[in-house]
């Protein structure tokens, strides 16, 4: 094969590997700041510690879902003794009941990290029900 063809292929490969650098040229994408709603602020803290929530909330939701749907147990006791009704979107003490406004909270992180939970096909935010 001719040397020029090889060189062309090689340059294309190197540009492709460097793709993340040149699509981000000039931009500095700051991490999103999820908005803590007034109701959440009043409550003071989340179900688990903040860092645990950031990393583990999907596992917590999985546990909650199993507990409610498989074992019909709707009460969750936190380490410090508080009791929550386990729910994604129903009631004031559900995730969305406390974190009002999914777009300002959950979606901000999820869009940034390319997560698209399918939960919202069935679970709606309380506000959407009123409409």
């Amino acid at each position: 094969m001719s040397k020029n063809a090889i060189l062309t292929g090689l340059v294309i490969f190197i540009l492709a590997v460097l793709l993340p650098f040149w699509v981000n040229l000039g931009g500095t994408a700051a991490a999103p700041k999820p908005e803590i709603s007034a109701r959440a602020k009043a409550a003071g803290r989340c179900i688990l510690d903040k860092y645990d929530m950031r990393a583990d909330h999907m596992q917590l939701l999985g546990k909650w879902r199993n507990s409610v749907v498989r074992h019909s147990n709707r009460l969750y006791k936190t380490a410090d003794g508080k009791v929550f009704t386990m729910s994604l979107s129903t009631g004031k003490n559900s995730c969305l009941g406390c974190h009002e406004g999914k777009e300002k909270f959950c979606d901000k992180c999820h869009n940034y990290a390319n997560v698209a939970p399918y939960c919202w096909e069935c679970h709606t935010t309380p506000k959407e029900i009123n409409q």
């Binding site: 090689l10 490969f13 981000n24 500095t28 860092y51 583990d56 990290a113």
Partner: protein, 335 residues
């Protein structure tokens, strides 16, 4: 037990420990999260360029395509234009099937003696290496493409679509990604094949086991972070976006496991140009695949032929004519 795989296994374990303890114990986040990844990328690109240019400038004096079908012949004999191409189009299709479908691996056969008195040698079609290789390479590709979500913002639609298809089974929370499972199983299969198939293990060196262990460890730490120990993905993306925008930051709260993962990926990248993993570039340059089989249709002249000084028969006769006539030998020109 065999030092050919124990040494690379220990090496990979050591790499993991170096990064893990370096971050957890000595607080070397900057080294393992910023310096090493940049250095590894440079080493990868420079090494890759150097290797391929080395191949490009080496001589290919002969046409040596392997012929795997009927060559172009008389008009009523049907040519196999892909397996024995005589045109650039045929070569192109042949290379596509080679690169995307591993066609020559698909043809893999195994030779074995019948285990009875006759003890006859027979060849059989052995497809499992091909299946393992396809599963491994494609799941690895999907995993790498999915990781683009850490290096782009907003994330492009094709990456979103790929991620969605990868999680289409909707098993568990966080959602199971099919490619991760397939990758892990395929690497395990390729590793066990090397260890337990006597013929393969006989020809396997430490350099064959090392990348397998390294990829196993990378996939293992990644799966561990996603499904078990968990890690703050938003923090991780802050770090990766910092790298690609040249504003590196070290996020709070991201632990040693993540840095160990990144360190081993960096090692893998830096290792590629120095190892057999260069087949990712080399497959394009395999002379037995990328040449048309037109040896008899086209005259191929050695590119570095120089004019050779020859002494023709006429000149020879001129030199010795008289002596030849004297000895009674026939000559072309008599005087």
């Amino acid at each position: 037990m065999n030092q050919k795989y124990l040494v690379p296994l220990a090496g990979v374990f050591l790499l993991f420990l170096v990064a893990y303890t370096g971050v957890e114990g000595a607080g070397l986040q900057w080294l393992f999260g910023v310096v090493v990844p940049y250095a590894a990328l440079l080493a990868f690109l420079a090494g890759f360029f150097y290797r391929v240019m080395g191949w490009a400038s080496s001589a290919v004096p002969f046409r040596i395509p392997t012929t795997c079908g009927q060559a172009k012949s008389l008009p009523w004999i049907k040519q196999n234009w892909v397996d024995d191409p005589d045109t650039a189009g045929g070569v192109f299709v042949r290379m596509l099937t080679e690169i995307f479908l591993f066609r020559s691996l698909f043809r893999n056969t195994r030779a074995a003696f019948h285990r009875n008195e006759k003890n006859r040698l027979s060849y059989s079609w052995e497809i499992f290496l091909w299946v393992g290789a396809m599963a491994f390479h494609y799941s690895f590709l999907v995993v790498i493409l999915r990781h683009l979500r850490f290096f782009t913002s907003p994330v492009p639609g094709c990456v979103k679509f790929l991620t969605k298809m990868d999680g289409i089974l909707q098993i568990g929370l966080p959602e199971l990604r099919i490619s991760g499972v397939v990758l892990l199983l395929a690497v395990f299969f390729l590793l066990l094949r090397r260890i337990f198939d006597a013929k393969v293990s006989y020809i396997s060196q430490a350099a064959d086991y090392f990348p397998l262990f390294l990829i196993l460890a990378i996939a293992g730490t990644g799966i561990c972070m996603r499904y078990f120990t968990r890690v703050d993905i938003i923090g991780v993306k802050e770090l990766t976006m910092g790298l690609v925008t040249f504003h590196p930051v070290i996020p709070k709260g991201v632990g040693g496991l993540f840095y160990a993962h990144v360190f081993m990926v960096s090692i893998l990248f830096a290792y590629i140009p120095n190892s057999k993993l260069m087949h990712m570039g080399g497959i394009f340059l395999s002379p037995t695949r990328n040449m048309a089989n037109n040896n008899r249709a086209v005259r191929h002249i050695n590119p570095w032929n120089y004019p050779v000084k020859v002494h023709t028969y006429e000149e020879y006769e001129d030199d010795f004519r008289e002596k030849m006539i004297e000895a009674g030998l026939p000559v072309d020109k008599k005087e």
